[in-house]
């Protein structure tokens, strides 16, 4: 059928010539008979048809059957492409029946060449297209030096083209947007060709030149040897053109030379001009080697150190020169400042530059940074595509990749996989964070864990790891360090992500109070970082930074008992009561983390007011509740707690009581206070406190708000152990049931004498209490859920009943 179709295929002259040229283009092996599938497929892809259509075409023309594209198949396929592009159904019959079918249009890297070629064709063709008029102008557009070259070359080309005896293609090349009939020719295409790139927007597009890339100029068929890079290079800088036909391959080396020289000259031109010349293709926004080299050079003019950063202000000035509107520049910045640090690394700068260039050429800015422009990927591309540039790419690549080797391999493919790879590492680091957040108050834990879990979704999380991986590189780290020290809060950098763990480690090591505070703060901030969206990685870093930056400061002023938050009732009470050095720091962080949890609590606390003799203590209890969990893992706490060995388990009961009271929303307030009173006798062991505290996070982890201020009277009672007590007691929030349970427990009188036994006994008791409390907590949770459901249903009813009157 293929052969038969060939006979039946009638092509107009223009079509004949066009197809012939295309075939010649595809005929890389110069067999004149068969076009390799690869090239043909490329061509068809450039036709911008859906893949199913392409497959259908292939099938119809018989190539699928044959496995290759013979001339006839090729012609049929081309015709079918034209049919498909015209929106007509693909039928074999349509091949001959459709009249006046426009030539198939192929969009893609080849476009310029084809454009130019078609221009040539049209120029000497009957259908006078504007191209003839177009050819002259471009040279004017080209930089002065190149202009002349291209012009000459263009004329030269024209003659050669004519020699080819291909008729001009009937192509509606008038308007840039219309995909011109692009000739798949070799890179060399007339520079003078009009720049109507099918892709180009309105902006006059510098007649893309096909210039052999420095690295690929060696082969005779450089352009198509690679894939996208060649096409980009064509458009990179307007260079002298070369005959587009394959027969002129031999000229490539020569033209390459010219182009090289021209190119170097070009790079010397103003940034604006060169910007205009470059372009990015619909194909992933790849940066060609020359482009990258140019960008690197420009980067050097601003920042000699290739591994350094360009500060935001310098970058702003630089890009403002491009005369793009500020809004667009702003968007470009957002896209390219990958780690959101307010400065551009080499990769970021190249990405930004590339986007500016694209924009100037009429391409719309993407909503998200194209994969190929992402810092990591750019490096990879360079390394994989062009060995020549690999060094440049590697430099930045290594810098960026030193800590993320896993990303290298797959990055070629969409960013997702590579980012996914970094995800596990991120997870590890996130583990660190999570541990920190665990240490933070229960409410904090809850909050941050939820947030932490949220971004676990691969899609959102994908972007997340990138900045983290980037910056940990040594060089960047150092830079970050410098930057960070330079402007603490003002310059959040990703090293923060790395830093906080270190900080926390150190903090843990030291037994200073700050440790606790810092740890907590870091934990808080680190977990905060994970609450942010993946796209806002930088912001997470920022947050961490600010937190890390501030927390040390916060805790820096040694835990002066009079906490500087008079407004924070908790804090003030804590200060008064707290003898723990750790407390203040923790409390601070705890307080920081606490506020969200607190608001719902006020009623209970107030309800407990009457029960409480000392409001202050209650507040301290609350604060303690939040802080004590943090204390648990910390050594100093334990050390401190050990002081309270004397306190028997009785205090456990009390704290349990407290917990009971505070925990129950409304239900048990009255009960707990009573039971609490009965249990006031005993004092809890420091360890008991810890355990109770541990149980509290568990409880809190269930999603309830943090403990409300326990009944004040309870606090008061343990006046002697006030300092210790609050910690312990606040963890106890149990309902009356627990209270009853506790009541059943023998209150252990304070026996300083029998420390060990008492402690152990109290420990045991506390453990039991904890389990009971945990159970109670779960029950309460369930009750809470039920109540909420009821509430919801009631509200729904109310909504239905209420007439639609909205304020």
């Amino acid at each position: 059928p293929a052969g038969g179709a060939m006979e039946g295929l009638t092509l107009s002259e223009a079509e004949q010539r066009y197809y012939c040229d295309l075939f010649a283009y595809c005929d890389t092996e110069s067999t004149k008979k068969v076009a390799p599938n690869g090239r043909v497929l490329e061509l068809f892809r450039a036709a911008q048809l859906p893949s199913e259509v392409v497959l259908q075409i292939m099938e119809l023309c018989g190539a699928t059957r044959l496995g290759y594209f013979g001339r006839s198949q090729f012609y049929i396929a081309l015709k079918l492409v034209a049919v498909a592009q015209s929106g007509l159904p693909l039928r074999v019959e349509s091949l001959n029946t459709v009249k006046d079918l426009p030539l198939p249009r192929f969009v893609g890297p080849k476009n310029e060449q084809e454009l130019r070629h078609t221009a040539l064709y049209s120029s000497d063709a009957d259908n006078s297209t504007p191209y003839s008029g177009v050819i002259p102008p471009p040279p004017g557009r080209v930089q002065v030096k190149k202009g002349s070259v291209s012009h000459d070359a263009g004329q030269q080309r024209t003659s050669t083209d004519q020699q080819e005896s291909t008729s001009p293609v009937v192509s509606p090349q008038q308007s840039p947007p219309t995909s011109p009939h692009t000739w798949r020719k070799h890179n060399r295409h007339p520079s003078g060709g009009n720049n109507e790139r099918p892709l180009a927007g309105p902006g006059p597009f510098w007649a893309p030149f096909s210039e052999a890339q420095p690295g690929s100029s060696t082969t005779g068929d450089p352009i198509w040897s690679g894939h996208s890079p060649p096409p980009h290079q064509e458009n990179w800088v307007s260079f002298a053109d070369t005959p587009p036909t394959s027969t002129l391959l031999a000229m490539h080396p020569a033209s390459v030379q010219d182009q090289t020289t021209v190119r170097t000259v070009a790079s010397a031109t103003t940034a604006n001009e060169i910007r205009r010349q470059s372009s990015s293709y619909d194909d992933p926004w790849k940066i060609t080697d020359e482009q990258r080299q140019y960008y690197v050079n420009q980067f050097k003019t601003i920042q000699p150190d290739l591994n350094g950063f360009i500060p935001g202000s310098a970058a702003k000035e630089f890009f403002t020169k491009s005369k793009l509107p500020i809004l667009e520049l702003s968007h470009i910045w957002e896209l390219s400042d990958f780690d959101k640090d307010g400065a551009l690394t080499l990769d970021e700068f190249c990405a930004a530059f590339h986007l500016v260039v694209a924009r100037k050429n009429g391409y719309d800015l993407p909503e998200k940074l194209p994969e190929s422009l992402m810092p990591k990927l750019i490096d990879l591309e360079d390394t994989t595509v062009v060995p020549v540039i690999s060094e440049v790419g590697d430099q930045s690549g290594e810098v960026g990749y030193s800590s993320s080797p896993a990303e290298a391999p797959p990055s070629k493919s969409p960013s997702m996989p590579s980012l996914n790879q970094t995800w596990p590492e991120l997870n590890q680091s996130s583990e660190q964070w999570e541990t920190f957040s665990e240490r933070s108050s229960s409410s904090q834990t809850l909050t941050q864990f939820d947030s932490n879990i949220a971004p676990a979704d691969p899609d959102t999380a994908i972007v997340h790891p990138v900045p983290i991986r980037m910056t940990p590189s040594k060089i960047h780290m150092q830079e970050m360090e410098l930057k960070r020290t330079g402007s603490d809060l003002a310059n959040p950098t990703s090293p923060l992500l790395v830093k906080p763990p270190d900080l926390s480690e150190e903090n843990n090591m030291s037994s200073s109070k700050f440790v606790a505070g810092n740890t907590v703060a870091d934990g808080y901030s680190s977990s905060d970082s994970y609450t942010s969206d993946p796209e806002q990685i930088g912001s997470t870093i920022t947050r961490q930074r600010s937190h890390s930056g501030t927390s040390p400061d916060n805790t820096a002023p040694p835990p002066p008992p009079p906490r500087p938050h008079p407004s924070h009732s908790r804090s003030s009470s804590l200060d008064m009561n707290r003898s723990f050095t750790v407390t203040p720091g923790q409390q601070q962080a705890g307080v920081v983390a606490y506020p969200p949890a607190v608001p719902p609590r006020p009623p209970p606390s107030q309800g407990a007011g009457p029960h409480v003799h000392r409001p202050v203590d209650a507040e301290s209890l609350i604060a303690h509740t939040s802080t004590s969990p943090q204390q648990i893992p910390e050594q100093p706490n334990f050390a401190d707690f050990s002081q309270f060995e004397a306190f028997a388990a009785s205090s456990v009961n009390e704290e349990e009581e407290d917990e009971i009271e505070t925990h129950s929303e409304v239900l048990q307030v009255e009960k707990s206070s009573d039971s609490a009173g009965s249990l006031r006798v005993t004092k809890t062991d420091a360890r008991v406190e810890d355990k109770a505290a541990a149980s509290v996070p568990v409880n809190a982890g269930k999603g309830t708000t943090p403990l409300a201020p326990p009944p004040k009277p309870i606090r008061r009672r343990l006046k002697s152990e006030d300092e210790l007590r609050p910690d312990v007691e606040e963890h106890t929030q149990k309902t009356g049931v627990i209270a009853a349970v506790l009541a059943s427990q023998p209150s252990i009188p304070r026996s300083v004498g029998k420390d060990k036994k008492a402690i152990q006994a109290s420990i045991r008791r506390n453990k039991e209490t904890n389990t009971v409390l945990a159970r109670l907590n779960s029950e309460l949770q369930q009750q809470l859920k039920d109540v909420l459901e009821e509430r919801i249903s009631l509200e729904v009813q109310l909504e239905q009943l209420r007439p639609f009157s909205h304020l």
């Binding site: 910045w333 957002e334 942010s532 969206d533 920081v592 506020p595 969200p596 909420l788």
Partner: protein
């Protein structure tokens, strides 16, 4: 989960305000405006504390029968106000808090952009997307 999100500058003019529903938009604007008073009141109440406590979630500013208004203030006195629908009863404080964190992060990103002059209206697409994603959750 919010129906309206607004970013108010230090001088109490809006840098960014976006509502989910096109009708009643004015109502939300008005609500946000009135909530500024509550925000200021809370700020001054907290004012005695050191500024280090400032970057905080203000919590529920005031509830009305239809919706609740939450506030958040940064150290630079930039306020985020979120109006959430009351019908979303399950909206927990934690979630609101995390939403504000996200908002804050996005805002920081906008600030990091050298092309953004503090005090300008926020035109960032990334910020818009983030806000839209937060608001779309409701519907």
């Amino acid at each position: 989960m919010a129906v309206c999100i607004a970013v108010i500058a230090k001088e109490n003019y809006p840098l960014y305000i976006q509502s989910i529903t096109t009708e009643n938009e004015l109502k939300f604007h008005y609500t946000v405006h009135t909530s500024l008073d509550v925000v200021d009141e809370k700020i001054s109440a907290m004012g005695k504390a050191l500024v280090d406590q400032r970057e905080l979630y203000l919590g529920l500013l005031y509830p009305t029968e239809d919706y609740k208004v939450y506030g958040y203030v940064t150290n630079s006195k930039v306020k985020f106000v979120m109006v959430a629908d009351s019908s979303n009863t399950a909206l927990r404080d934690n979630e609101i808090h995390s939403m504000f964190q996200k908002l804050h992060n996005s805002y920081i990103d906008v600030m990091c952009n050298p092309f953004y002059n503090p005090g300008d209206c926020i035109h960032s697409r990334a910020f818009d997307n983030m806000v839209t994603s937060m608001m779309m959750q409701v519907c």
